[in-house]
């Protein structure tokens, strides 16, 4: 584990970006698979490919924006943390954040409910939405705090997360390849 410098090198920045981009791309690809059927219906293959290119490009932009936000968050982290601890913590924050957003989307699409109301209905058996929001807020906070705490306290946990992030980065790198192909497609379509 790298415990030396408190600043990310280029490789670590790229890895962090790939970690941030991963869940966003997974979600986009799942949604595209849901929709490309009706988009393609009545359109040529070029239309379906064009649609995929647009949404991947938007996801790339969103990944960059989120990455920027995560880096800003990194400025708040104590300089006493090692780069690995920083990398794991920020990666986990981004992943948990994306996961909650995905959960919110899934609840909306499958259950046709806003997350707080669904939480009240199912977890609290119809109790007040305000109570649901409060408890959901606690749950969300805990879901961020716990992984960061473990990343700082447990070297084993940290190493395991780094290993997972390494593997996910490879997959995420492939998504980036599709993103750049998407940008080329957009340029061709719009010239």
């Amino acid at each position: 584990m790298n415990t030396q410098s408190s600043k990310f090198n280029r490789g670590e920045l790229i890895k962090l970006f790939l970690i941030v981009a991963f869940p966003l791309h997974v979600w986009t690809i799942l949604m595209t698979l849901r929709d490309v059927g009706w988009v393609a219906e009545g359109r040529t293959l070029s239309g379906a490919v064009g649609f995929s290119a647009y949404v991947l490009s938007y996801t790339l932009v969103e990944s960059l924006v989120l990455f920027g936000g995560i880096l800003l968050l990194g400025l708040l982290i104590s300089k006493n943390w090692s780069t690995d601890q920083r990398l794991v913590s920020l990666g986990l924050v981004a992943t948990v954040l994306a996961s909650w957003s995905i959960i919110e989307q899934i609840i909306l699409v499958l259950l046709h409910e806003q997350m707080t109301r669904a939480f009240s209905s199912f977890a609290l058996l119809g109790a007040s939405p305000w109570l649901g929001m409060a408890l959901l807020g606690l749950l969300v906070t805990f879901s961020f705090a716990l992984p960061v705490f473990l990343a700082l306290r447990s070297e084993k946990f940290s190493s395991a997360m780094l290993s997972i992030f390494d593997r996910l980065s490879l997959l995420s790198g492939m998504y980036l390849f599709f993103d750049f192909a998407a940008i080329i497609i957009l340029i061709v379509r719009n010239v």
Partner: protein, 512 residues
């Protein structure tokens, strides 16, 4: 006479030239050729406006007081039909003077037959300054295809309340797909979810902030397209009025506004105007193309639609009055019509449907001529395909031989022809610009009868085509289907319809 000028005079001249070149262009109206006595032409289209919901045409609700007022100086066509039940074929017929099986504009993804890119209403008036605008993305796709035929096609988003940032600016050349993908990715609406996990929230906040000052004016919601592009009809009318007072003359303006197309978000002064008025439409049996909307749901939607029509009527009245006050009307032919209708019966709602029932295919047409002071009424069947040849006739220009529409009654030398045939078609699933159309819905109106022929649709369950015949002169509500009891008439009309469709199919091979 000497040709020499002094240095002082030369400097004066240079200064004057500089000053002249920096003056606003509106003060220098380039005069176009062909004589200054040609009237201007203003074609005003309100999308999805059914003649069946207009009091001028006998609707029991007073939805159009302004139109009724203005009709006293117009030619009113009472038996007028759109080319199709959807924007693309309907507008294509209006702009080409042909029927859908000829212009092949069934589907915006495929487009109109290439022949009509250089042969349409705009090219027919090439000595005019031609300007068009539409809120409607489908109509915009068509106008974009015809863009080379006109002097200016105003971008849709110019009259929206804010844009979607992407298709407006970055991807304007691929606006249709860019806006569909943007909507799927970023627009939080209904239960579809968004592709974006974070930016969608920011985008929604941006849009909500943009429209919040209008929520008092439009408590039901701001009129919009695809839940994202918000607009005010008032802004579009204001812009149109600015244009017609400053355009080079003669001009041809084609302005295609979205209302009363859904969502039926009328302005606060018209909300609940018809609530509790006791109006009930005739309850009709569900049709094979039903969307399974219940009667009461349809009545509720109909009321909102009718209240939206009140806004359309008020704004057209305002537009017309302003045209008169500014003197533009003195030399402008004004056409008021729609691209297709809207339906709230038989389980079918709106117009996204295969059917060609009267509410969905019968549209208003009023023509206001400069100096006209009395009303004329025409009851013989007419089509939006007739508009182009009529305008050419009115301005003394030849009608191209490929035009299928006819010069409208009162504008040609002869009498009304009640035995004339008028056609319409819908085939939005059809993906080719040539060849036999399948699946499709086809209509012929002749001799007071209306026959529709549906073929290839899933709902027919492989049971072969469906033919329906109605005596629309005596049964305008299409309650008694006559194809079995009036086989002779049905057979004759069906043959004429098939011949016309086949004629279009043959022409399409040349027009591709």
């Amino acid at each position: 006479m000497t040709n020499n000028i002094s240095r002082r005079d030369f400097l004066k001249l240079t200064g004057a030239m500089y000053l002249a070149s920096s003056m606003p262009s509106v003060m220098v109206k380039p005069q176009r050729a062909a004589g200054s006595d040609l009237p201007n032409i203003l074609v005003v289209v309100f999308d999805a406006f059914s003649a069946r919901n207009i009091e001028l045409y006998g609707y029991d609700r007073p939805t159009t007081p302004n139109l009724s007022r203005l009709a006293s100086r117009a030619t009113v066509y009472h038996n007028h039909y759109a080319g199709g039940n959807y924007t693309f074929p309907g507008t294509s017929s209006l702009l080409t003077g042909t029927y859908p099986f000829t212009h092949r504009g069934f589907n915006p993804r495929v487009g109109i037959a290439p022949f009509f890119e250089q042969n349409n209403l705009f090219t027919a008036f090439d000595q005019y300054y031609r300007l068009s605008y539409t809120h409607n993305s489908v109509a915009f796709t068509l106008l974009t295809q015809l863009k080379q035929s006109m002097d200016k096609l105003k971008a849709r988003q110019d009259l929206f309340l804010g844009g979607d940032l992407v298709s407006d600016i970055l991807f304007a050349n691929d606006e249709d797909l860019a806006s569909v993908s943007w909507r799927q990715a970023m627009v939080k609406t209904g239960r579809k979810g968004t592709y974006s996990l974070f930016l969608a929230h920011l985008y929604r906040a941006y849009k909500q902030n943009l429209i919040k000052k209008y929520t008092g004016l439009y408590p039901r919601g701001i009129p919009n397209i695809r839940d994202d592009n918000y607009f005010l009809l008032e802004d579009a009318i204001d812009w149109s009025l600015e244009q017609v007072t400053s355009l080079p003359q003669p001009f041809l303006g084609y302005f295609h506004y979205l209302p009363p197309h859904d969502p039926y978000f009328t302005r606060h002064d018209f909300i609940d105007h018809f609530k509790g008025d006791g109006y009930r439409s005739i309850e009709k049996p569900e049709h094979i193309f039903t969307n399974h909307r219940g009667y009461q749901d349809q009545e509720n939607e109909r009321r909102w639609y009718d209240e939206f029509i009140l806004l359309v009527d008020a704004e057209f009245g305002r537009m017309f009055d302003q045209l008169e006050q500014t003197g533009v009307l003195d030399n402008t032919i004004v056409v008021f019509t729609s691209d297709h209708g809207e339906m709230f019966e038989r389980g079918i709602t709106k117009h996204y449907n295969e059917s060609l029932h009267m509410p969905i295919i019968q549209v208003p047409l009023l023509i206001f001529e400069p100096g006209q002071t009395s009303r004329r009424d025409v009851y013989s069947p007419t089509s939006n395909a007739d508009l182009m040849p009529t305008l050419l006739q009115m301005t003394g220009q030849p009608v191209p031989e490929w035009v299928e529409g006819e010069v409208l009654p009162t504008y040609h030398a002869g009498e009304e022809d009640p035995q004339r045939s008028v056609f319409a078609a819908e085939a939005k699933s059809f993906e080719r610009q040539y060849g036999e159309i399948n699946p499709g819905s086809f209509m012929i109106v002749k001799d007071g009868y209306k026959l529709t022929h549906y073929t290839g649709w899933e709902q027919l369950n492989g049971g072969g085509p469906l033919t329906e015949l109605y005596d629309i002169e005596n049964d305008p509500e299409e309650m008694d289907e006559l194809s079995s009891s009036q086989k002779g008439i049905a057979g004759d009309l069906l043959n004429k319809l098939k011949d016309k469709v086949e004629e279009g199919n043959q022409k399409s091979l040349d027009y591709r």
